[in-house]
């Protein structure tokens, strides 16, 4: 595998629920350290793509066709145990609503420790150190305190930072961010975007699943516009935004203005 190969290459991914097609032959590449946005309205299949990548679709949904080559391996060809080792270790995920994505019964540190313990053979102290540095990296002012805090004790912005920290603590090469800023107010959204740009500089690729075109315009290099499960338009963000070819993209852009 050369360095010029994309980190993730999705080829003709098709997901069906029974006879209904939710994702229809979608193909795109995510380069190393690149940010690719999957845009589209609700029900367009963008979250389904994110979960397909981790092979965590609800049982009614099936991947019917396609390849998902990540770091040189087709994820669809991996055993369940091999797939588990990819999740969290090589691909991290950030959810829309951190309060429900964090278990209310465990401290932030405890939940991050669980991820590290699942993927590494580090000692307790080493894990502790690593968690603190991840919490520091996402810009939490007091990592020690965040470590001991329960999710409800942190503010919304801090919670989202903590869940980003949980996603990067194992040092993955790709992060799937599913509407990472939708639950935050505008100033916090800007902070999270800055954080993503910092991660990008550290050569972490991001698959940004969002409907907010303003955010996509600031962050992403490439965009895939999804409509009813089909990739109706894709290419560099600047080009797509300046000169949308498809009606649906135009409608999305108009809605954003």
């Amino acid at each position: 595998m050369s360095n010029f190969d994309p980190l993730l290459s999705l080829e003709e991914l098709t997901v069906k629920a029974g006879k209904k097609t939710l994702v229809d032959r979608v193909s795109f590449n995510v380069p190393r350290g690149g940010i690719v946005a999957v845009a589209g309205g609700s029900g367009s299949g963008k979250t389904t793509i994110g979960l397909s990548l981790l092979r965590l679709l609800p049982c009614a949904l099936r991947i019917r066709q396609g390849r998902m080559v990540f770091e040189g391996r087709d994820l669809l060809g991996l055993s369940d145990e091999e797939m588990r080792r990819v999740r969290g270790a090589r691909i991290g995920m950030v959810f829309q609503e951190p309060l429900s994505a964090l278990d209310p019964l465990f401290t932030i540190g405890g939940q991050m420790d669980e991820v590290l313990a699942a993927h590494t053979a580090l000692s307790k102290q080493e894990r502790h150190k690593k968690i603190l540095s991840a919490l520091d990296e996402v810009g939490l002012p007091d990592p020690q305190r965040a470590y001991r805090s329960f999710p409800h004790q942190l503010s919304g912005g801090m919670r989202q930072r903590a869940s980003v920290a949980q996603a990067i603590v194992t040092g993955p090469s790709l992060i799937i961010a599913d509407e990472p800023a939708s639950s935050l107010d505008v100033t916090l959204q800007a902070k999270i975007m800055e954080l993503f740009i910092r991660l990008k500089r550290k050569n972490i690729a991001i698959l940004l699943i969002a409907h907010d075109l303003a955010m996509i315009a600031r962050l992403a290099d490439e965009i895939v516009v999804l409509c009813k499960g089909q990739a109706v338009e894709q290419g560099p963000v600047s080009k797509v935004m300046a000169d949308p070819l498809h009606e649906y993209t135009k409608a999305l852009l108009e809605a954003a203005v």
Partner: protein
């Protein structure tokens, strides 16, 4: 809401709520005393559980005297001798001339009297064994069998229920059919059948273990079914999906993220199950299938009270029943209080502003 309150974990909050419940705390201390007496039965009881004296069959409770001819003296008991009245009924005559002083901290026991005197605080059974001593030795069996049985059936029930609910599909179907196989047989008869399958030449330790296992086998299924139902809904929580996306192993997700959410239910059930196991052991022993004489348990002590005549003339042999009642009551009240304490919806259980 101040900072000190905010930093308490759920367990701390629940324990604080539990401590505020007076009835539950009382029951807790009553149980603590019962367990304490059971553990220290060797010291607390004046006799060993098999120390018998046939001359004192069904001897009524002995009064401990403190006054002699109007003066305070060292506690003592009068001598009693067995006679028969005109109807050939036992009659213990008190001989006020012969006294046996109580000996404290003698021969490794807290209090006892020298032979040939006998001290029956709560009366004697048919073979002249001290019921007080036999009750506390019996408490060792009766109070521990419930806890052990519950430990096993809870481990089974929580794990199997959690696995069935988490995975769903055919795993769920197979495990639930297995549960139903255990549940469709009435509990007591299943218990009798299982007990009948145990070789009759077992010694008392083996019988004890087999009773524990039998109790555990009966109880896990209904718990597993309910935990499975809860797990079915809990697995849809976002943080369970999040844990999956982070590659946390399934068993860790079940144990750390699903089962703790069932705690308010399972705590209450745990306590109720302990009490039902105490009753089940008593039931087995009363019909003579549990722990065998001379080893006492509250159940087999009560089996003496199965016929009416001894109960009429020696009503104290019903006392083990009172202790079964007290222990079961206490476990039930504590179970109830724990459920309230762990349930944030119940008034007064969570943070008070």
């Amino acid at each position: 809401m101040n900072d000190a309150v905010k930093h308490q974990s759920r367990t701390q909050l629940a324990l604080a709520a539990f401590r505020r419940n007076r009835a539950a705390m009382l029951c807790f201390w009553v149980l603590a005393v019962l367990y304490g007496l059971a553990v220290f039965a060797d010291v607390v009881c004046p006799y060993s559980y098999q120390d018998e004296d046939r001359d004192f069959s069904y001897c009524p409770p002995t009064a401990i005297e403190f006054m002699d001819h109007g003066h305070w003296v060292r506690p003592f008991v009068y001598k009693r001798t067995l006679t028969f009245d005109a109807d050939h009924r036992r009659d213990y005559v008190i001989d006020r001339h012969t006294k046996y002083p109580l000996r404290f901290f003698h021969a490794g026991r807290l209090f006892t009297v020298d032979r040939p005197g006998r001290l029956y605080v709560w009366g004697a059974d048919a073979r002249g064994r001290d019921l007080f001593s036999r009750i506390w030795y019996g408490a060792r069996i009766s109070l521990s069998i419930g806890l052990l049985g519950v430990a096993i059936s809870f481990a089974l029930g929580l794990l199997i229920g959690g696995i069935a609910g988490y995975y769903g599909g055919w795993v769920d179907a197979v495990l639930m059919r297995l549960c139903e196989m255990f549940m469709m047989i009435p509990g007591f008869y299943l218990m009798l059948a299982l007990r009948a399958a145990v070789p009759e030449n077992f010694n008392y330790v083996e019988v004890y273990i087999s009773v524990v296992v039998i109790l555990a086998l009966i109880g896990w299924a209904s718990l597993a079914r309910i935990i499975r139902g809860m797990a079915l809904s809990l697995r849809e929580r976002d943080y369970v999906l999040a844990a999956k996306t982070f590659g946390v192993p399934d068993l860790v997700i079940i144990v750390k993220h699903i089962l703790p959410q069932t705690i308010s239910y399972s705590m209450a059930t745990l306590m109720l199950t302990v009490s039902s196991y105490i009753l089940a052991e008593a039931g087995l022993s009363v019909v003579g299938l549990g722990i065998q004489d001379p080893i006492p348990s509250w159940g087999n002590l009560l089996s003496d009270a199965m016929s009416i005549v001894p109960v009429i003339f020696a009503p104290w042999i019903l006392l083990p029943g009172l202790f079964i009642f007290i222990a079961v009551m206490c476990f039930n009240v504590i179970g109830d209080a724990l459920r309230d304490a762990f349930d944030p919806m119940v008034e007064g259980s969570s943070i008070e502003n």
